[in-house]
């Protein structure tokens, strides 16, 4: 039973990463990033 839960968690992690990789590496969407979340973009010029 617990192996099932563990397997589920691992599977979810894999799927999550897989989808992220697919979005970033293969799609030509306009949003460049989606990565680290530490992006300042043009914050300095917002002022």
């Amino acid at each position: 039973m617990e192996i099932f839960v563990v397997g589920l968690v691992i599977g979810a992690a894999l799927i999550y990463l897989g989808r992220r990789a697919y979005k970033k590496y293969f799609r030509k969407s306009g949003d460049g990033c989606g990565g680290c979340g530490t992006c300042p973009s043009s914050r300095a010029s917002q002022e």
């Binding site: 617990e2 192996i3 839960v5 563990v6 968690v9 691992i10 992690a13 894999l14 999550y16 990463l17 992220r20 990789a21 970033k24 590496y25 030509k28 306009g30 949003d31 460049g32 990033c33 989606g34 990565g35 680290c36 979340g37 530490t38 992006c39 300042p40 973009s41 043009s42 914050r43 300095a44 010029s45 917002q46 002022e47």
Partner: protein, 745 residues
Amino acid sequence: MNPLRTRGPVEAEKHSIQVALVGNPNTGKSTIFNRLTGLRQRIANYPGVTVDRKSGRMKVAECEIEVVDLPGAYSLTAISHDERVVMDVLGGRRNMQRPDLLVFVLDATNLKRNLFLVSQAAELGLPTLIALNQMDAAHHNGIRIDSARLSRRLGVPVIETVGSSGRGLAELKGAIVEALESPCFLPRIAWPACISNGCVMLRDGICTLGCAEISDAEILRVLFDRESVYTEQVQEKTQLRELILEVHKGIRSSGLSPGSAEAVLHYRHIEALLEGVIESSGPIARSRESIDRILLHRVWGTLIFLGVMYAIFQSLYTWSGPAMDLVETGTGWAQSVASGLLAGAPVLQSLVCNGILAGVGGVLVFLPQILLLFFFISLLEDSGYVARAAFLMDKLFSWCGLNGKSFVPLLSGYACAIPGVMAARTIEDPKARLTTILMTPFMSCSARLPVYILLIGTFVEPVYGPYVAGATLFVMHFVGAAVALPLAWVLNRFILRIKPLPFILEMPDYRLPVLRNVVHRMWERGREFVIRAGTVILAISIIVWALLYFPHQESVATQAEAEFVQAQSKQRPAVEIEEALKDPDSAISQSLFNHVGAAYIEQSFLGRFGKTVQPVFDPAGFDWKITVGVLSSFPAREVIIATMGIIYDLGSDVDEGSSDLRTVLKNERWTSGSRLGEPVYTLPVVFAIMVFFALCMQCGATVAIIAKELNWWWATASFVGMTVLAWVAAVAVFQSGRLITTFFS
């Protein structure tokens, strides 16, 4: 019944009412935005570009109005990404909704130049309202502005505001509501014949060339900017270019120069507008002069700059200690609770305690540092110092094919290579762009920060004190740049030979940062860090845990136990050992537990892989656990912390919660090979690891973005090149470090 039903050209029922804040950079626009929307803000993306779309909701008279803070722009000529976005939004391109009202935020201390954008925007024919901001600074500088007269001349309301204190905001809100009900428009400039005729000619020409409808404002852009995104659809570019040159000839024949005609005419118009509006008592005495004399002094300025940078890194050590301890205790507590609850399910228990909690907790412990770092960065940005830093650094950057302005996104990130790579889009010269993109990953990234802090905090600080530790952190951040600069210089000088990049930057007045804004931005960063930790790092931690756990074969435990008992029996009688083992809390039992745990990890998938690859990293002094950590961090740097948490934690007593990672690291010893019995983490190894991280591209997102901005060839080359370089440097550092330590001992 909607009290804001506009009688203007836009119907309120079809969409939400949108008010756009427009203005030059450094006008305090964001402060006003924050005051209008409070905390009800959202950051999204504009389609196709990497510019933040800041929007919020303003509640007034039972209505909710959407307020959009457009990026700062000096002109509607789309030179930078930000300006392109402004023109796109105001022109309603890319299916974006045109704002129902434009609120210009102008800097009262620089009114003339600020009006340039206003004058240009008049062509757009949108309802307008003006907020004359920073009135306090103007007053301080002896500038008096007759806003009533200005309002009459411009034909739109002018509200005096002081964003930082909130003065005038109530009136501004009221004026916004009023302007939505009865809009006012700016008068258009009276163009001379050469230009108005030119516009007609251009419009006819473009229509015959098959371009879709193009507005007056856009035609002017095409006329003045020559290359324009508004004529992208036109196929016959040469015909278009010839047409534009024809028009330019016409302009020239009336005595104007086409390149500066727009500015000359607008400023003439503005000067007429400002007759009698501004009075300044004597020469404008600006505080910035005396401050700049020191801060931009050839010698003192540079020293102060380095000093400020050093102070920031130093404080990351001395001030975040207690907070870090708090997080560590919290993680430990969570682990012991979880291990108690899941005692009956050992695999799940391990996943939760040693995988998830150890992994994510290990990364979250750095949240205090991240917050502190971004606090300082926001402070520097808002005070106006960053422009000075860019000025000081520009020459250095120009050697790399970047310019001083890159310093701004790189510092304000100290975060990520990705903004630098994307900012490179605005560089027209393809070779310069290439260099910029290749050099950016060398700039230190906040994901490296946890690695540096962990290692420096464990191995440098206890021995050499906090000041040396701070200095080391400071130096590590410049290792990347120190390597990138000569490389870039070589690249530019001998291989690519590129022209220098443009650099035009305004030196704003020094301002006292508004604490609310600074804290708000710091908080945003912290939130993004936590979210990343909770998503990507969490997912990778789970996978790393799984690879370090399975296959969990019983035979491994049996064998390890046998080995352990055998080793122990050399030191004490067998009977004593058996007795001690019956007690799970005895020192020997703990020791056995750790030993078995370590054996399990060694036999796991990742462990076996690490041991196979370890000889590659042996010259750099890495043992297999470090190798595993390094390898697992290729998707994202912080994962090494999570991995180490998992590797070392799995070998520790789960009941008591996680043992201090730092203590464990200090006590690690080689279990095989040439250095058997010696400590794994000596100073040369520690520096080798840090240097490796400084120079290696361990960021899947960066590889992806380079592939997108250039192509996969460059992305791969960059990745391989940096990895090799990192390896070489790590080996060099380790070997020379070892030589130095043996020489001195």
